[in-house]
Symmetry: C2
């Protein structure tokens, strides 16, 4: 019997926002894998740290931050080979994933490589999007409202079209695009409804009106645009 | 000192998909409130049942399923009055919310009434959307893809425009609109990429290609449309 690959969502950063299922799987895991920056620091591992067994085997998926695809593909190939070898011995592998494994996560690159040959199970996690809405006290969507999740690196023209078409908007991967995104939002007359948050649920969380947000923003930041409260309320 | 209003997300149905924070707050709660159908059954309460204290005080928010707004508004007003009276005694009130409190939840009607006068805290929950993607084994979005969350009751024309504009789509509140939504998706040439799931994460979960989905669908159902895997994988 081969082992099972688990993709386990850890939520946005506060370890208490892990699910009971994630906590059970991590506490019992003999092998964990996680993405790490080139230097070795791993946000995912830091969220789960208190639950990881002392005798665990760890697989660090160190992905180079380069524009070309080749080096990252090679890193995922190597990690998938290492995971495959362990699954073949019958041990399960728990991959630690920031947020949710299937919501803008890098887990899917491992998943795509392993799924054809092994049993897999995905444990959903709290997304930074819902955690940010909670921290800001801003309902994301209700009734027949449309919510769009938009990556910040899109072009100005794309941002303009997609933001205009939705009732509520979450803009991910803001980072160095903040100034440009803010200009588009301002042009659309939505600046007063736009909120900025960085490092949601962590002790260093910052939130403010988008008008006052730092430019550039850190990587873990988000912009939420919500409509005014409906008279229904 | 007044009490605090907690809006606590419970996730999509599997009690193990509750967060550690939700479990802690519910286990400690002296007062819980939850939405219930007219007959008294409450999906939210059923998810949390094993954690609710025997000596708890319960507030049932029984909202009539009518098209007119008046009766529902009156029900939320009455529940908010009852919650207010408890918060004024210094006790906290934990509102049990299916999924996430701010993601198409009815909690926001209570929140809007209580927030002006009391401290509030929202605990995000796993959404049916991410849980459905996990159960289907379908990544929702990656890199610079746009994800749109679209309510099924929108008109055919609106559905067509909004589905076309996104890379990935989650259609909520499918129910009796299933046939109509499926026709739009078929016309757009997306039927092969469309997946149906009902009662995600519950023992009675059903998932199938949208082509084979029941019409009408039950209330707790969803359609996910995802693009083909990127060559990046």
């Amino acid at each position: 019997m081969s082992g099972i690959l688990y993709g386990v969502g850890l939520g946005p950063g506060d370890a208490e926002l892990m699910t009971l299922k994630a906590a059970r799987l991590i506490s019992g895991a003999k092998v964990v894998a996680y993405p790490a920056l080139a230097g070795g620091s791993s946000f995912a591992r830091s969220i789960a740290a208190a639950l990881i067994r002392d005798d665990v085997r760890e697989i660090m998926i160190s992905v180079p931050m380069k524009v070309e695809r080749g080096p990252a593909q090679a890193a995922y190939d190597a990690a998938a080979d290492e995971i495959t070898a362990i699954l073949e011995t019958g041990l399960d592998v728990v991959v630690l994933c920031e947020g949710d494994p299937f919501f803008y996560g890098s887990f899917m690159y491992i998943y795509a490589r392993i799924k054809p040959n092994f049993q897999t199970e995905i444990v959903p996690g709290i997304t930074a999007m819902t955690a940010s809405a909670a921290a800001l006290g801003l309902p994301l969507a209700a009734r027949n409202e449309m919510l769009s999740v938009i990556p910040g690196p899109l072009s100005d023209a794309e941002l303009r079209t997609k933001i205009s078409a939705a009732d509520s908007v979450a803009i991910m991967k803001v980072g160095r695009h903040l100034g440009r995104i803010r200009d588009v939002i301002t042009d659309l007359g939505l600046l007063d409804q736009a909120h900025y948050i960085e490092r949601a649920t962590l002790p260093e969380q910052q939130k403010k009106p988008l008008a006052n947000a730092p430019d550039p923003a850190p990587y873990f930041s988000m912009i939420l645009i919500t409509k005014e409260a409906d008279p229904w309320l």
